[in-house]
């Protein structure tokens, strides 16, 4: 089946469908990871986006049930150069194509994803449409232009859970409430590894309800879209600062930034990959980090009297981490939980444990 990806700047890419049929709009972004397509597909932060993989050969090792990062696929469409018709791995349970079909997600192959990436690098992340139904290029470009995009849209409510749930382990030492704005399972796994009971709550849970759960710490999770559009979480965050130790990841950092009076802005094409060098300013050490964000906290907008910059991106000098100078609050823009990507930054979970320990004492 033929499929077309049309961009709002009028550029059109033709390929073949290997997933579900249909038509979906989204912001098109590229991801430079060479492994980890399954984790990318199930990362809720991609809600509202069509993801193109720069690595050309995708689907090689199939899909297994262990490596999912959330309960389903949230992204709007998946674009690759060559889809592998064979899934070769002792852990593979089904093919990528079948997985996309089951989840009713469009997958397109035969696209020159390098050309597409260059297009995005020059013009920035763009609104786009992916279709197997409409083959009229003009009509598709028009649809892309008319689509809503990401700015000002609350996508968190689309990915957050409806009801809270608890994950307990043995010998749990701390209770962490995870405000689910699109949390990845690996974050929960990292807490479990460190003997934390996690209570995952919907994103619209009020600060009073959270406090009532008597948490030792609060995790502001990653999530999709524009942080400025989730005003209710920002409000909740503002009320929690100083009361309980808080650790923010990705969207969590952006919401913290806003709650502490800073500003956020949209990056040209964002950071989506697993090879971004980030320097921990406190030690001078560099970590290879996992990144997936289109928005960023404006470094200059932060009140430096209260906030210390802890991490910086070595590629473009954007803000990657910050910490309140007096209150138990810190955050990073990248993904210390990895999944997919390197485990270099796991130490931040240890820092959070230390912070909870100190606060408890």
């Amino acid at each position: 089946m033929n499929a077309i990806l049309a961009l709002e700047n009028g550029k059109v890419f033709k390929g073949k469908s290997f997933g579900a049929s249909g038509e979906r709009c989204g912001e098109v972004v590229f991801n430079t990871s060479m492994t980890g397509y399954q984790e990318i597909l199930t990362d809720p932060s991609y809600k509202g986006q069509i993801v193109a993989m720069t690595y050309p050969l995708i689907g090689n090792y199939g899909i297994n049930t262990e490596d999912v990062e959330s309960r389903k696929i949230f992204l709007e469409g998946f674009v690759v150069k060559e889809y592998s018709k064979i899934a070769s791995s002792w852990r593979s349970e089904k093919s990528l194509g079948d997985y996309l079909k089951e989840n009713n997600i469009l997958g397109v192959e035969g696209i020159d994803t390098r050309k597409l990436t260059l297009e995005i690098r020059e013009a920035g992340a763009m609104k786009a449409v992916l279709s197997t139904l409409d083959m009229d290029e003009k009509s598709l470009v028009e649809k892309a232009r008319k689509s809503s995009g990401l700015v000002g849209i609350d996508l968190v409510k689309e990915v957050s859970i409806d009801k809270k749930y608890v994950r307990s382990g043995q010998k749990d030492k701390f209770k962490v409430v995870v405000l689910d704005c699109g949390v990845k399972y690996n974050t929960l796994r990292e807490f479990a590894k460190r003997h934390c009971q996690v209570v995952v709550v919907p994103s619209d849970t009020s600060s009073e309800e959270i406090i009532k759960l008597k948490p030792d710490g609060i995790m502001l999770s990653n999530g999709p879209g524009d942080p400025a559009a989730v005003s209710y979480v920002i409000e909740t965050t503002r009320k929690l600062i100083g009361k309980v130790p808080i650790f923010g990841i990705c969207l969590g950092q952006q919401m913290l930034g806003l709650a502490m009076g800073g500003k956020t802005y949209k990056l040209k094409f964002g950071h989506h990959g697993v090879n971004h060098p980030v320097k921990d300013i406190r030690t001078g050490k560099v970590y290879i980090t996992v990144q997936n964000h289109g928005f960023c906290v404006d470094i200059d907008s932060l009140n430096k009297k209260d906030i210390e910059i802890t991490h910086i991106n070595l590629n473009d000098n954007t803000l990657e981490g910050m910490r309140h100078k007096r209150l138990p609050v810190f955050s990073v823009q990248f993904h210390p939980e990895a999944g997919a990507g390197p485990h270099d930054a796991e130490y931040l979970f240890d820092e959070f444990i230390e912070m909870m320990k100190k606060h408890k004492a």
Binding site: F30, T32, S33, M34, T35, G36, Q38, E39, T54, Y55, P56, L57, N60, Y61, N64, E66, D67, K81, E82, S84, K85, I86, S88, S89, W90, R91, D112, T113, R114, K115, T117, L118, R121, G273, V274, N275, H276, P277, K279, G284, K285, V286, I288, L314, N315, A338, G339, A340, G341, P342, H343
Partner: protein
């Protein structure tokens, strides 16, 4: 950390004459080092006995000694030149061995020469299999079961304990010389004896066979601040049992999930730290059981290796050049990425193409040599190719070998339209698949032409099904081309070009002239695009004009 100022004069040891297992790749790395260190204001003294090298060009080092790479000769040079430091990690195994011997002779201590890159302790820990095993066990990494022996009697006892087949690896040799696989006691006796003789210290390691497992390599770099990055991941097309130098290898890895890859990455980082290679590149090899994913570490080279040259060209990341800078104190975040200029060298290259390296053999020149491929290296060279798909890169690589094959052509069949299977044909295919040999890749193609399926070929070769599937797609495309006869339309021709078929190969398949295919291609406007190797999958602008061709739009 800025450049060290306490050292002024550095001695670099080259790799000496070209032999199987150690060729011009170390001239490449040594030349890079000379250039960089001179640029940084160090006085460079070079010793290499091979005049047919770029590094021995008079302008490259401050002083060049064309002398044998022996303890005696180098001792005299050290006594005369009095260098502050010795950089032994860029001249292959020869340089590394020379450094160890200089240390043993007390020369380095006597003249207060510091080894930079990797210190003697780290070199020994990486190279001595017993120390390596201890170190890996300490950090919790799994290894094949093994033990070592110094004489035949002990060797037999060890082999019986581990169970056949076993691998015999002599310590301190060049390019795996003397290494072999023994399937029974009878074979073992002869092979163990030869191994003991090949080792500089009459020592062999007898190891659980992981023949047939998937084989991987990671190219790792570390700096004095303990930043560690993986430059390139490599997956071997030929499973364990064939020396990496004789294997078709592919970058990046193709058949590992992110979880498995990250586990390997973590292991590689832990390994370089534990071995204690302070700065520069190391090559770390792993084997993985395809049935259950058990991963074992096989070995590490605490130096720039043959694979480093490949990894540099495969990613655009100049490993030898950066390794030289790290050796004199720079850290990865202080060195800019030459290709992007704006971003630092402290990152992991993202590539958006597939790289295939294919070994080149010349068995025709060595009439008595056994052309079976084993754990000792036999190839005399290699070709690398880049394509947007494995299929494209594989076929480009095969025609780069200059062995009169212009892609994945047939060994056995003249007419591809109706494959004629004669008496003995299947037997020949089975034999060529079962025992690794220089032409196996072509026989895999012929096996598909003869109607064999992926499972059967996998059973015989243990080559991963993903690679086999891709070869099958090439053969199916070839069939489509055959069937199109005089009606080679735009769709089929375009697909053929995307699958890496050359015009000449297509002409041969169709019984036409190469010019005819060329004109047809012009008529349909099917032209290759030239894409950049930029270390970053197009995320940042690249300034280095390093291209590959691909029929991708």
């Amino acid at each position: 950390m800025p450049k060290r100022t306490d050292i002024k004069k550095i001695l670099i040891i080259g790799s000496g004459p070209i032999v199987i297992g150690q060729a011009c790749e170390f001239d490449y790395s040594g030349t890079q080092a000379c250039k960089v260190l001179k640029q940084e204001g160090f006085e460079v003294v070079l010793v290499n006995s091979n005049p047919a090298t770029i590094m021995t060009d008079p302008e490259l080092a401050d002083k060049t000694y064309i002398e044998p790479i022996t303890v005696d000769a180098i001792t005299k040079i050290i006594a005369k030149e009095r260098p502050d430091a010795l950089l032994p990690t860029l001249g292959g195994q020869t340089a590394l061995n020379a450094a160890v011997n200089l240390d043993k002779a007390g020369v380095l201590k006597k003249y207060k020469v510091e080894t930079i890159g990797a210190n003697i302790k780290a070199i020994k820990k990486g190279e001595d299999r017993r120390l390596f095993k201890q170190a890996m066990e300490k950090i919790g990494l799994d290894l094949p079961k093994s033990d070592k022996a110094y004489n035949l009697e002990d060797a037999i006892e060890v082999a019986k304990r581990i169970g056949f087949p076993v691998i015999i690896r002599p310590s301190f040799t060049l390019g795996g010389t003397g290494g072999s696989v023994a399937y029974n006691l009878e074979e073992f006796r002869g092979l163990a004896k030869r191994g003991l003789e090949a080792s500089m210290i009459s020592e062999i390691l007898i190891e659980e066979s992981v023949v047939g497992w998937k084989e991987f390599e990671l190219e790792v770099m570390r700096d004095l601040k303990d930043n560690v990055v993986i430059i390139c991941s490599i997956e071997n097309f030929d499973p364990m049992g064939v020396h990496t130098g004789d294997s078709i290898t592919v970058a990046p890895v193709q058949t590992l999930t992110d979880r498995e890859y990250q586990k390997m990455r973590d292991a590689a980082i832990a390994c370089i730290r534990e071995i204690g290679v302070e700065t520069g590149g190391s090559n770390i090899q792993f084997a993985l059981n395809p049935e259950n994913g058990r991963m074992v570490i096989i070995e590490m080279n605490p130096r720039v290796s043959r694979s480093s040259a490949l990894a540099s060209k495969a990613t655009g990341f100049p490993i030898a050049k950066i390794a030289a800078k790290l050796a004199v104190g720079f850290t990865l975040d202080e060195i800019p990425n030459d290709i992007t200029k704006e971003t630092p060298a402290c990152f992991e290259p993202a590539i958006d193409y597939c790289v295939v390296k294919i070994p080149r053999f010349t068995f025709e020149k060595f009439a008595s040599a056994d052309s079976t491929l084993t754990v000792s290296m036999k190839s005399v060279g290699e070709a690398m190719s880049i394509g947007r798909t494995f299929k494209e890169a594989l076929q480009k690589g095969l025609r780069s070998l200059e062995i009169k094959k212009f892609g994945l052509e047939s060994m056995l069949f003249n007419s591809l339209l109706d494959i004629e299977i004669q008496n003995g044909t299947m037997e020949e295919i089975l034999q060529k698949l079962r025992v690794p040999n220089a032409e196996r890749i072509f026989y895999v193609g012929d096996a598909f032409r003869a109607g064999m399926d992926i499972e059967k070929i996998h059973e015989l070769t243990k080559i991963d099904r993903w690679f086999l599937h891709n070869i099958k797609e090439i053969i199916e495309c070839e069939k489509e081309i055959c069937l199109s006869k005089d009606n080679l339309n735009e769709t089929i021709l375009k697909k053929a070009k995307e699958f890496g078929f050359s015009d000449r190969q297509l002409a041969k398949i169709l019984g036409k002239k190469e010019e005819e295919i060329f004109s047809l291609r012009k008529k349909y406007n099917i032209e290759p695009a030239f894409k950049l190797v930029d270390t970053c999958a197009a995320e940042f602008q690249a300034f280095t004009p390093y291209y590959y061709s691909s029929y991708d739009k």
